[in-house]
Symmetry: C2
Subunit: 204 residues, 2 copies
């Protein structure tokens, strides 16, 4: 069995990967980019640390256009994040039997609704996995810390390959930093996997 994981290079998609490792023959780590910045390189380096093949996929141009439009129309990030995430999941679902991501129990966005998941799985004959869907923020941090050395960083200074950072960057480029500040919360941070501490999970 092979699985493709939506991978930003942070601790969440990193832990999702580790949780699936013992159950899949091959794991491909896939980072989506708007093609406007080099943040995907951070994810590529983290993937190398984890020891899995990595691939970058650049969204079609109209995905960026539409998500910027949603951002400006709604004035908040969630609907645009949901849209971009859904495009990414569907894109992988067309070519893989199993698609996973690092979305967490307590995340508000991006999130696929129950009916969107059902539709995705039925239409595309894919299984969609959220290994962190039943774990709280504290648990995820504790579990990830067991095998990963990661840093928390300010997204304004250190770009990352998560969808929010990509949208912030593209919006700033197009509409200016003031529009970013109107729509997104201040002080967004993300994590970056620096090193894998232990290659082989301990087994009782």
């Amino acid at each position: 069995m092979n699985v493709a994981v939506l991978f930003s290079g942070g601790k969440d998609s990193g832990l999702a990967t580790l949780l699936l490792e013992p159950y899949f023959d091959e794991i491909e780590l896939v980072t989506f980019s708007f093609g406007r910045d080099d943040a995907w390189k951070v994810a590529a380096a983290a993937a190398k640390e984890l020891g899995h093949p990595h691939r970058k996929v650049v969204f079609e141009n109209d995905v960026l256009e539409r998500s910027l439009q949603i951002l400006m129309d709604t004035g908040y990030p969630n609907d645009a994040l949901d849209y971009v995430h859904q495009v990414a999941v569907e894109s992988l679902a067309k070519e893989c039997e199993f698609v996973a991501d690092g979305t967490r129990r307590d995340d508000r966005a991006p999130k696929l609704s129950v009916s969107a998941v059902r539709s995705l799985e039925d239409r595309l004959h894919v299984q969609y996995l959220r290994p962190l869907a039943g774990l709280g923020v504290k648990t995820i941090k504790a579990m990830a810390s067991r095998y990963l050395d990661f840093q928390e960083e300010n997204s304004g200074k250190h770009p990352a390959s998560d969808f929010e950072v990509g949208l912030r960057f593209a919006l700033a480029e197009r509409q200016g930093q003031r529009e970013v500040e109107r729509i997104f919360p201040s002080n967004h941070t993300h994590t970056r996997v620096i090193r894998r501490l232990d290659k082989c999970p301990k087994n009782s």
Copy 2:
């Protein structure tokens, strides 16, 4: 870090246990019983196969009384299952830092609401983990099959330590089989872990 897992001896709580294994120092498998049947012995045998300590906890008498009352008042199983499950989770939460179960993405009951989880974690300073919360039925079967040999059984013939089977047994004893047939769906099956196929999860 130590975790207590609500354990029926079936493939779901079995897979939940395997998923957590690399991240916790000690895992205790805990089976709740109404004290009316010996089904917990099946769970104890499965726990031995998995290689983790096992404990049986008998519910207080009034838990059985109240759940039978809910069953008869509502005429369907979900509210009673939710009640029994919540009592079990809260009971473990009072003594453990991490409490897990094998409830799945597609399960309707038992299920704690988002606010019930938040309240539980805040009141009792516990982390509640659902390792299968982001996995569909097909994925769970595929992942569990990698490490576990399990059987599907008819719950009428082969008792199990899941809450539904315990409630069916107690209701039949008290009110007769006809009441069970009125309230529960026919042909309930459960799984039973027979053997652990591989002690050490493969690591890429």
